[in-house]
């Protein structure tokens, strides 16, 4: 075995398939998108080179509305970190404490992650339906007719109506990550804290949470990057409408490329999404490092 490891040829050979795959389906397309984003191109005929024109339009054109979609995505990221993650954390702490039917609850909270997003989209379309949707029906029965809305069709509510299922769906995902993290904390530490007279809350706050910081960091990165890339549920529920009220960068990108045949402009959006994902991932890592010091 050691001889194989020392053999440079073998190392190269065994790395080759994975490297090729990684290059052909991730790295090369990113660079190709980067090139396409400098073109005015409809995807079929020959494109013309326009330099940074697409990027300038991204940030200046009001009708394209990219800056607004960026705002929406960042809002979603903020909500994920400050609403979704705390809920996940509380659930994970409670479950990991060892309550009755612990395994059942872990699976139950994880179910939304497993269900196809399109199915979830259809379910929530029914929940939001202005006529027979459960929300409006309940409001009517409570005598709150004036609160009824066309949730997905009203510009003032569409964005939050779309965010709720997104946040709800991935609570279970983060909960599972955190739950696994908490379970791996040595029970001896907890017991020691208890013997020293710490309450349940103090044990969690001063012992468990600091121990699972790496997991929390992962969750924050996933939540932020996931928010920037959010696409499927929005596509199913509103497709970015009405009048761009719930548009995010990825739906705008698909709209531009496949709806309007603007491959160059769409590629520029793709590059921006990639850039922002990297940027935030690095920033979050830095932030947690500072915390540790």
């Amino acid at each position: 075995m050691d001889r194989v490891r020392r053999n440079k040829g073998a190392i190269v050979l065994f790395m080759l398939p994975a490297t090729l795959l990684f290059l052909t389906i991730i790295i090369i397309p990113i660079f190709m998108s980067g090139y396409y984003s400098l073109l005015d191109w409809d995807g079929i005929t020959k494109g013309t080179f326009v330099g940074l024109q697409n990027y300038i339009e991204l940030f200046t054109s009001k009708s394209a509305g990219f800056t607004k979609t960026l705002g929406n995505a960042i809002l979603l990221a903020v909500l994920s970190v400050f609403i979704q993650l705390p809920i996940s954390l509380v659930l994970a702490l409670v479950l990991a404490k060892g309550i009755k039917r612990e395994r059942f609850f872990v699976s139950a909270f994880f179910v939304p992650v497993l269900i196809s997003t399109v199915v979830i989209g259809q379910l929530w379309t029914k929940i939001y339906n202005p006529e027979y949707g459960i929300i409006n029906v309940v409001l009517q029965n409570l005598g709150l007719e004036s609160w009824c809305r066309t949730w997905l069709g009203d510009q003032n509510t569409a964005l939050f109506a779309v965010f709720v299922p997104i946040l709800w769906q991935y609570v279970g995902y983060h909960m599972l990550l955190l739950y696994a993290g908490i379970k791996s904390v040595d029970p001896v530490l907890r017991e020691a804290a208890k013997i020293d007279g710490a309450t349940e809350w103090e044990t969690s706050w001063h012992v468990v949470i600091p121990m699972i910081k790496p997991v929390i960091r992962m969750c924050v990165i996933f939540a932020v990057v996931g928010s920037l890339k959010a696409f499927d549920l929005i596509y199913v529920l509103t497709n970015g409408g009405p009048a761009h009220a719930s548009e995010v960068p990825s739906t705008l990108m698909v709209n531009m490329i496949f709806g309007r045949g603007r491959y160059g402009f769409g590629s520029a959006i793709a590059i921006m999404i990639i850039f922002l994902c990297f940027f935030f991932a690095i920033m979050i890592k830095k932030f947690f490092k500072v915390e540790e010091e």
């Binding site: 050979l13 079929i44 006529e131 066309t150 949730w151 997905l152 069709g153 569409a158 009405p242 496949f258």
Partner: protein, 425 residues
């Protein structure tokens, strides 16, 4: 040493396997083993599509008439097919015959020189397929495709609900408004509408615009042919749409409804009118409980610029032939003859209005489809739907502006100016 050799071999096998896995499939090898010419055809007539049956029968007919040719049809879902077709054109992987949309959608395909011109073959079929139906398959005066159906926008209405209110089908804008008001007063939604699927709203707006500005002016503005969109007639149609919105003529919460949901309010008897393509005729006979309650008329005329017989719509479903096909004659004739049979069978199924001459018994066709066929037989003009007629980029902006107009973010003047700005880019 042996182990090393083995690992080298394994590595090679793995990488070659990966590389050959995604080889392309062109249309070059068109001779099957038994000497038959094999023609590959792509369509969107999937099994759930209303044209599926017509295609299957048409291919059977063609193979019976031409025993030396075999047609291999592959069908794809509409939305994903658009992407597939575009990438196939770019990658030179088109089949011999392919379904596409005429007008702006296929313009770049033709310009890239990958589509066969069919003028030499059209002569044989001229008597059966009117030139007018092929407008959208004609680019720079040359014919590049054939068609089988001429869908048009019509106004469907619920006759029973109209009679209940003592109303008759509106023929002019003023009558339409009066009818809407009467329904609103009676607490009934006059017109079914979906804004989430913006093309439904576009169908209504397209029709109002055509009936306000007339066919020539509309086409000239949308194809950037020396006509500004910022014009009194176009402004008038946007204002009319606004009037209908303001009076509450459309389904409540239309911004959140899909086309299927909106159409269900109409077929379920909850709204009185629905402006959409002729295909709803067949759908009513499938979905509505009392199909005999429904009737259809042309969209009301809004000004002297247009007549009742001017129609929004026309032949857009197009079969084109790959310029690189191995046997051009066989593929071109097949495209025409299959289109002819699809025209017949789809009409008999009630799936579409026949584009080709009818030389067969059509007494079994549903009343609505037949009625539309009679209307279109007298058509003075066909104008293809805005979002197909315009370049895809302009069409995207058009749909976005319509949503803004419907949501009240811009007024009719702003809409006309926005359209003008996009079209004069």
């Amino acid at each position: 040493m042996k182990k090393k050799l083995l690992s080298v071999l394994l590595g090679l096998v793995m990488t070659t396997g990966m590389l050959t896995g995604c080889g392309g499939s062109g249309s070059q090898d068109s001779k099957a083993e038994d000497g038959k010419t094999v023609l590959k055809m792509w369509t969107i007539a999937t099994e759930s599509d209303s044209f599926h049956n017509a295609y299957v029968k048409a291919i059977e007919d063609y193979e019976t008439a031409h025993p030396d040719v075999k047609i291999e049809m592959e069908s794809f879902e509409n939305q994903s097919y658009k992407t597939k077709l575009k990438s196939a054109v770019a990658a030179n992987e088109l089949p011999d015959i392919f379904y596409t949309w005429g007008g702006g959608f296929s313009k770049s395909f033709v310009e890239s020189g990958k589509v066969l011109a069919l003028d030499d073959y059209y002569g044989d079929y001229k008597a059966e397929l009117p030139q007018q139906a092929l407008n959208n398959a004609t680019y720079d005066g040359k014919l590049y495709g054939t068609t089988y159906t001429t869908p048009v926008s019509m106004m469907f209405y619920n006759k029973a609900m109209f009679e209940e209110q003592g109303l008759k089908a509106p023929e002019t804008w003023d009558e339409l408004k009066a009818v809407c008001q009467k329904f609103i007063d009676a607490g009934i939604t006059p017109i079914g509408m979906s804004v989430k699927d913006t093309w439904v709203l576009a169908m209504t707006h397209d029709a109002l615009t055509l009936k306000s500005a007339g066919a020539e002016k509309t086409a000239a503005a949308l194809t950037k042919d020396g006509q500004s969109y910022n014009d009194a007639d176009f402004l008038a149609s946007a204002e009319k749409l606004q009037e209908l919105i303001d009076m509450g003529a459309f389904t409540d919460g239309a911004t959140g409804l899909s086309n299927d949901e909106a159409a269900a309010t109409f077929t379920g008897g909850k709204s009185a009118m629905f402006i959409t393509g002729s295909w709803l005729g067949g759908q009513i006979f499938n979905d509505a409980e009392n199909a005999e309650n429904y009737d259809v008329v042309p969209v009301p005329v809004c000004s002297d610029n247009a007549k009742a017989t001017d129609f929004m719509g026309g032949a857009i479903d197009t079969l084109m032939v790959n310029a690189d096909t191995a046997d051009q004659d066989a593929a071109a004739t097949a495209a025409f003859e299959i289109a002819r049979s699809v025209s017949k069978y789809a009409y008999l199924d009630g799936a579409g209005i026949a584009a080709w001459a009818k030389d067969y018994d059509d007494s079994g066709v549903n009343v609505l489809t037949k009625k539309i066929a009679d209307y279109t037989a007298d058509a003075t003009s066909f104008t293809i739907w805005f979002d197909t007629l315009m370049d895809s980029e302009d069409a995207g902006e058009y749909l976005a502006l319509l949503q803004e107009l419907y949501s009240g973010n811009i007024d009719p003047q702003g809409f006309a100016e926005g359209m003008d700005a996009q079209l004069s880019k």
